[in-house]
Symmetry: D2
Subunit: 116 residues, 4 copies
């Protein structure tokens, strides 16, 4: 009933919500950004129709966010950029999360129906 | 570039991934199902374009899942049904999560473009 | 090998870490604070040796933390106070989390061994 | 008021609850266990007084837990062993989590007060 493209966009959204709410709150410092990026990407790539996930946690933003003496902060959307590619029944959806007016905006970049 | 209906489906997916991965793992027993249902629904209803969320955690499934002496289990998709309605720019999307072959399947139930 | 009091303090810590990292990141607005408080408390009270949990999410701090147009924020330690009482083998431990120099400090308030 | 050893045990508990509830529910397959182990350990090592964390996610248990066609499962305590060493004011606490009668039991292994 929903079109293939709509289904693909729905799947893309699921991955974004999953990634964000699974990992938000994780303790992070400049010395642990690389391992967290990798784990986040590989974890979400397990989900159905998820072709690739790229997570970039900005070390400088992490350093700036450390506002107490304990030397770490908690992961939030403001510290990272995320890109994902979903492929569902031949429809390829590219998505990204970037900061927009202080809000980590998740958005569709392109929806391409490969047809047949 | 993406259509309004595609955007609405993307938003619907975000809410489902958020709900699932924020609350999966929460300690739950038959005595705490009602408060958790309410908190999950009200929490996700805060997100943009989310009209309504309904969460039903099945007390009998929770009781059956308690497999040790401590009297509680951890929330997973197999213990609950979820329905959501998203309204994005006049496109109304109804979604649900139900168990299908042992997997908590999130799916689009209807996508209706109210047009203008 | 560890004393009963040490065991009780270990259990108290588990509950605090659980509560914080299960619920940090949850979307919250002044209209959903009450249900989230209740769910957090009832959820963690399911855990072994956990006598009582009290969560107070401050509506005014939630309102102040909303920094974009979407009308909600994400739960962090700076928005709430938590108190817990653990009873492990007759040792009663009272704990609290409050803000201290910008850090949500979890601490032991009292450790009382009922002994015999 | 609480002794140094009690404080150290409390800190040890916090780390265990944090690790468990931050990462429970993470999608995992045999191809993503190594990155998740590393991220979990490095993340929690950021927390105060946490000297070292070792996480072992068992590939065979992950493979056995995959009960649907999508090729992954969600992280739970039954899939991993965890060891941690906390050092708080000269008191060294060793802790572990292992499966015991179907329950992921977190426990104190040793509490050694280095004294002075």
């Amino acid at each position: 009933m929903a079109s293939d493209a709509q289904q693909a966009c729905f799947e893309a959204g699921i991955k974004f919500g999953s990634l964000y709410h699974q990992f938000a709150g994780t303790p992070v410092s400049p010395s642990s950004t690389r391992s967290l990026e990798t784990a986040m990407a590989e974890s979400i790539e397990n989900q159905p129709f998820c072709e690739s996930v790229s997570v970039e946690i900005h070390d400088d933003r992490v350093a700036d966010a450390i506002d107490h003496e304990n030397g770490y902060t908690e992961l939030t959307g403001s510290l990272m950029d995320v890109e994902m590619r979903i492929d569902h029944e031949g429809v390829v959806v590219n998505t990204q999360m970037t900061m927009r007016d202080g809000y980590p905006l998740m958005e569709l970049v392109s929806v391409v129906d490969g047809g047949d």
